[in-house]
């Protein structure tokens, strides 16, 4: 491939660590969580993995996971900067 060609390549963190945008952090209450995975399905940025761990480097703190959780097991806690 010629170097002159203006090609962008897939990179992790291409838009920076978007976790720094976060105002509220999702905190999972493991006792209430029944591992249904609905949060994982609806996460707009796919930062929740198969084991339902939230990648806080990239989580933007939108709160969709907390809102869709049928068990109300996710709480949004204000980030202390």
């Amino acid at each position: 491939m010629r170097e002159r060609l203006a090609l962008s390549r897939p990179t992790r963190g291409a838009c920076g660590f978007t976790g720094t945008w976060r105002e509220f952090r999702p905190v999972v209450d493991q006792e209430k969580c029944n591992q249904c995975g609905i949060c994982q399905i609806h996460c707009p940025d796919a930062v929740i993995d198969e084991e339902l761990n939230i990648d806080l480097d990239f989580c933007k703190g939108c709160g969709v996971c907390a809102n869709v959780c049928p068990k109300k097991a996710i709480a949004m806690v204000r980030e202390e900067k």
């Binding site: 990179t11 399905i41 707009p44 940025d45 809102n67």
Partner: protein, 296 residues
């Protein structure tokens, strides 16, 4: 209805796009790419998705993307699809365009590509305004919605894009919503299994533009379906069938006040405008029901 287990685990968006927190467009794109798989090229006209990819020389999209001018997306996809097919490749060509690039600026190339019978999938994710440039009114903005160029609410109805596309008699067209990602996945999968021009219209609620809190993205999308503001259906070779979530909603739709009240963009809408919107919703549901029953 698809079950969760049949959805592939691969993600084609690397963490993380620059989309706003709670953006439904990146959620839709996740499922579109899961359904399409790695042998896919995205054609993206100017829209939010051309901005959220990241900055050169990095991108968060793990599939080839061709960024193109507003008016040319479907024309570009036409040529691309022809080139792939003449090489004997079955690569999926998907246009992923916003409502401005579809309903207003891109409609001539969209119409042209459908008339030529190009083998591609056109996806319009509809946030009902020009979100990327700061929420200006588009042809898809509904009556009464406040945008930066309609500060007291839009005084015209939303353009019925689906009827325009339906007039081209495509083999497959559907509507979907970001609030029902499994339904969206199934529709994209089905569309890509059919040869010829396909069209999917996705409702994509936009937290900053529609003025609601980011966590309500799914809730607002579901409300739109439950109130009948957005009806999920698919039309395969001219036969319309209403999709699961809308079937129950169409029997007894909720009043639209709940949907209107949840968003800041309708704060200037008077009761008369809300009543007019409600009538339009009822007319639309009625039309779809009749078409499904084969009456018209």
């Amino acid at each position: 209805m698809s079950s969760i287990s049949e959805i592939p685990k691969e993600e084609y968006l690397k963490p993380c796009t620059a989309a706003c927190a709670g953006c439904s467009s990146s959620l839709c794109l996740r499922y579109v790419l899961k359904a399409a798989g790695p042998d896919t090229v995205l054609v993206i006209p100017a829209c939010c998705t051309s901005v959220i990819q990241g900055m050169y020389p990095n991108t968060s999209f793990n599939v080839p993307v061709y960024n193109i001018a507003f008016a040319a997306a479907a024309a570009c996809a036409s040529g691309m699809s022809k080139a792939f097919r003449s090489e004997g490749k079955q690569t999926n060509v998907i246009v992923y365009a916003g409502d401005g690039g579809t309903v207003d600026i891109g409609i001539q190339s969209l119409s042209g590509a459908f008339e030529r019978g190009t083998d591609f999938l056109y996806i319009c994710y509809d946030n009902e305004a020009y979100g990327n440039t700061g929420m200006q009114r588009s042809g898809a903005t509904p009556l009464g919605a406040l945008t930066t160029t309609t500060p007291v609410g839009k005084s015209e109805f939303k353009k019925d894009l689906d009827l325009i596309v339906a007039a081209h008699n495509p083999p497959y067209m559907a509507t979907a919503s970001s609030a029902y990602p499994l339904d969206l996945y199934r529709k994209v999968k089905k569309a890509l299994s059919i040869r010829g021009p396909k069209f999917i219209h996705i409702m994509a609620p936009c937290p900053p533009g529609w003025r609601y809190d980011s966590e309500k993205t799914i809730e607002i999308g579901k409300l739109a379906v439950k109130t009948g503001m957005w009806v999920l259906w698919e039309r395969e070779y001219g036969t319309l069938s209403v999709s699961g979530p809308s079937k129950t909603a169409m029997k007894k739709p909720q009043p639209i006040d709940e949907y209107i009240g949840a968003q800041g963009r309708f704060k200037t809408a008077t009761p008369a405008i809300v009543a007019e919107l409600q009538q339009a919703v009822e007319r639309n549901i009625d039309r779809i029901r009749k078409e499904e029953e084969g009456i018209c």
